[in-house]
């Protein structure tokens, strides 16, 4: 009897979910910032089955009878925010055994129930590159995730490529974080740091040549090496290198290595970008920068400056922002755009830098980062101008599902803090999506 009841209960939920998904939903009368085009003052966003169907002027669109209409007058709608560099989810990467560990995958250490993922939702983030740390020259493979609700396993957050494989990059670092005074396997100088990376990439070239040479003859294949396989993906431009780098000379070293080995590169942090903005632009390498409340905290960020955004924009480099959460809190990611504009960046480029620019850096430009038909229905509802301190993220939607709602006291707690706000999530049923996971 109990079983039957449960079954009926689930069936009911399931049916509700399906109907909710299949009926298109229109958000009307909002000020829409599509990023891909001009602002629409009285706009409409039509979504269905997790995708954006249409974006346009609310006054010129006639809706079919079956459309669920949500009046968002007075609110602002923009794409879900994309973060190129974060440490939410209590993830881990390489250990202390060596400075270069390309075989280590952040995926294997992510806690999908970490409250940090939900707090990020409350800041309007929908897509995140979760990275291992910077205490290594290469601390392992990063993971691109969607901040879907109620994940029970890391797979539930994956973004899959066309071949069905989860997407991610690889984390490199130079500068002081990976230096160890004691010697050993870790570098003691900047030149040694570059030499160690160079060595490994040359090894990977040789590994790749051996594999190529072996052809179909399995007996001639080198012993399988997961670290080498990851670096071969780097050499083959199949895996993006996210390169933690701060000082102007370290930035140039990253660009030099990129030129030498031809990998695809995103500069991360780039604290002294304003000193070498033209060089970055000329190399056609994108830069993802961070906004820190004061200079210093470590030697290589002595000259970090809010003007990095403006300088990179002026130089013509593709510029994105990131949280590096917990260095800055995901809940205030939009503040980065405000501070960038404060220091001279254009509004348009600053908003581009928390959305589309980052989508491009994660090879997700066809799926997220702007409000365009066919893209994932990842968007946020704001109470006002995204650059204003007084603006709140009211709702966050991922693939057509609401994952954050400020009017829900549980979600409000996550956004604002208070007793229990940082407790990891207990699996709950109201977001049942076919997998009971740890609940039973």
């Amino acid at each position: 009897m109990r079983k039957l009841f449960l079954l009926l209960f689930f069936a009911g939920l399931f049916a509700f979910n399906i109907s909710a998904q299949q009926r298109p939903t229109a958000f009307i009368n909002a000020r829409i910032i599509p990023i891909s085009g001009p602002v629409i003052e009285q706009g409409i966003l039509l979504v269905r089955d997790g995708k954006i169907v249409a974006v346009g002027d609310a006054r010129t669109v006639r809706l079919a009878a079956d459309v669920v209409v949500i009046d968002a007058a007075g609110k602002v709608i923009m794409p879900g925010l994309v973060d190129t560099h974060s440490h939410i989810g209590d993830g881990s990467g390489a250990d202390a055994s060596g400075p270069i560990q390309p075989d280590v995958r952040l995926m294997d250490g992510l806690n999908v129930r970490s409250s940090s993922l939900q707090r990020a939702q409350s800041g309007g983030l929908t897509t995140v590159n979760v990275m291992p740390g910077s205490g290594h020259l290469d601390s392992g493979q990063t993971l691109y995730i969607k901040l879907r609700d109620s994940a029970v396993k890391v797979d539930d957050l994956f973004i899959l490529d066309k071949a069905g494989k989860y997407m991610g990059g690889i984390k490199f670092a130079n500068g002081t974080n990976s230096l160890r005074a004691g010697g050993g396997a870790f570098p003691g100088t900047r030149a040694k740091s570059a030499a160690l990376v160079r060595d490994q990439l040359i090894k990977a070239q040789e590994y790749r040549d051996k594999v190529k040479k072996a052809g179909n003859d399995a007996s001639k294949l080198p012993p399988r090496d997961l670290a080498m396989e990851a670096l071969v993906e780097v050499l083959d431009q199949k895996r993006m290198v996210h390169f933690h780098t701060h000082r102007h000379d370290d930035i140039m070293t990253a660009l030099r290595l990129q030129k030498e080995f031809g990998f695809r590169l995103v500069l991360q942090h780039v604290s002294e970008a304003w000193k070498v903005a033209d060089e970055i632009a000329r190399a056609k390498v994108p830069a993802s920068i961070i906004f820190i409340d004061s200079p210093g905290g470590k030697l290589e960020t002595m000259d970090i400056d809010f003007k990095n955004g403006a300088a990179l924009e002026k130089a013509g480099a593709l510029t994105g922002f990131h949280t590096d959460d917990g260095i800055t809190d995901s809940r205030w990611f939009l503040r980065s755009a405000g501070l960038a504009v404060r220091a001279g960046m254009s509004r348009e480029k600053a908003l581009y830098a928390v959305t589309m620019a980052n989508a491009i850096m994660l090879d997700l430009q066809d799926r997220v980062g702007s409000l365009e038909p066919g893209k994932d229905a990842d968007f946020i509802l704001l109470s006002g101008d995204p650059l204003s301190v007084y603006t709140q993220v009211l709702e966050t939607w991922v693939e057509g599902k609401k994952v954050f709602d400020r009017s829900d006291p549980k979600d409000y707690l996550l956004q604002v803090g208070g007793v229990g706000a940082t407790n990891d999530r207990v699996q709950h049923l109201d977001c049942f999506d076919g997998d009971l996971g740890g609940w039973n």
């Binding site: 004061s294 200079p295 210093g296 470590k298 030697l299 809190d329 503040r335 301190v389 007084y390 709140q392």
Partner: protein, 406 residues
């Protein structure tokens, strides 16, 4: 023809004179600041007002219609003017921005109880972070020894201007920094190692001080003198306590020994509002954007709002930061406190101006724009709290100390 040339020449001369005059007028000349809004923090904002500054003090504040600007005053225009901001608790100046051992002077790890350490002996007035805060309109800081030892040392109050500590200091010994909770433990094998031990050690010091107070021949060593200043209510303890239980402990100790305390950080303050309220002690609340975790796992962006609404005196702080950012900026922390729309912008501003001044006991000098007070002003080109506004200038003691656009 001749007269025309003469006229031209005299014009040129006047122009030259004006140019020379401008170049030689010292930065602390008489100044008139005109603004669309003056947030005096003593009554309602003045729309279209003027602040007159003479000899380092505020000479007059009022509507432009009623305050005449005397000739010879340098006129500065701003959208909004506020009192110079007060950071009610920081470690800037003792801890530097490099974050290397040689510029981190806010904590001596040698002992758990060192009330005799003077902040003035470690304050670097030319530290980059002091300049940084000044450029955002922060004119007064309460700085000193950092949390994370049971009694780490003294704090001081300084203006963010001056070549050296003597020029900067306005209160050499403001408070003595005490920490309760996990972070006050001294490490494996050392005392204190538990909360109860922390309090037992504090109690022992305070009992000794009580007994010394009765003696005519009490020892004159620095420690004894420091504790005497606490027990005779001259110097308050600044008690950093985040857990509700530690906040309540601080209040209990203060009552037991009839000493003055200022509660600091108080991440769980919103859980013990009545206890704090009935104690009468003020709270310098953690930065609004402080990280939640460990002892601060329950902190709330609304903490300051909740405590203030209960009638508790509240100030905001930038706090202690061990890494990046090496300091926060109270302008931003107050902005974020106002952002949630439960505090009015003016209430948030009070927590970094007049209310902070009152808690620090310096409100007769600073914290509001009133005749006779120090001429400390922050000037903005828009709402001070908006991320996209700028602090366009800072005045300390009647001197323009920053004209950087931040």
């Amino acid at each position: 023809m001749y007269t025309l040339e003469l006229k031209r020449a005299s014009q040129m001369f006047l122009l030259l004179l004006a140019f020379v005059a401008a170049a030689v007028i010292p930065a602390n000349a008489q100044i008139a600041v005109k603004a669309n809004e003056i947030w005096t923090m003593a009554g309602n904002p003045i729309i279209n007002g003027v602040v007159l500054i003479k000899d380092g003090k505020i000479e007059a504040v009022g509507p432009a219609a009623s305050v005449r600007i005397p000739t010879g005053y340098r006129v500065i225009n701003a959208q909004i003017v506020t009192p110079g901001l007060i950071d009610a608790h920081t470690v800037v100046g003792l801890n530097g921005y490099l974050n290397q051992p040689h510029d981190q002077m806010a904590l001596d790890g040698g002992a758990s109880i060192q009330p005799e350490l003077r902040a003035t002996d470690a304050y670097n007035a030319q530290e980059r972070l002091v300049e940084w805060l000044r450029e955002f309109g922060v004119t007064t800081i309460h700085t000193g020894h950092q949390p994370s030892a049971l009694v780490s040392g003294q704090t001081m109050i300084a203006k963010t201007w001056g070549k050296n500590v003597d020029e900067a200091t306005i209160v050499p010994t403001a408070m003595i920094a005490v920490t309760l909770g996990d972070s006050a433990n001294a490490g494996a094998g050392k005392s204190p190692g538990t909360r109860a031990k922390q309090v037992a050690m504090l109690r022992a010091e305070l009992i000794k001080a009580q007994e010394n107070a009765k003696k005519s021949d009490a020892p004159k060593d620095l420690k004894t003198v420091a504790w005497a200043s606490v027990i005779n209510r001259q110097v308050p303890l600044l008690v950093t306590a985040d857990r509700a239980q530690d906040i309540v402990t601080a209040i209990r100790i203060a009552r037991e020994f009839n000493i003055r305390i200022v509660l600091d950080s108080a991440a769980e303050g919103h859980m013990v509002v009545n206890e704090i309220k009935s104690s009468g002690f003020p709270v310098i609340v953690h930065a609004t954007m402080a990280r939640a975790g460990g002892q601060t796992e329950n902190l709330s962006m609304e903490n300051a709002y909740i405590l203030r609404a209960a009638g508790i005196p509240v100030a905001l702080q930038s706090g202690y930061e061990g890494y990046v950012p090496k300091t926060r900026v109270v302008l931003f922390e107050a902005a974020m406190a106002a952002a949630n729309r439960r505090l009015l912008p003016r209430e948030a501003m009070a927590m970094i101006t007049i209310d902070a001044a009152r808690i620090l006991g310096i409100d007769k000098r600073v914290g509001s724009l009133e005749k006779g007070k120090d001429a400390d002003l922050a000037m903005y080109d828009g709402d001070p709290f908006e991320w996209t506004s700028h602090c366009i200038g800072t005045i300390i003691n009647g001197r323009v100390v920053s004209e950087v656009i931040r």
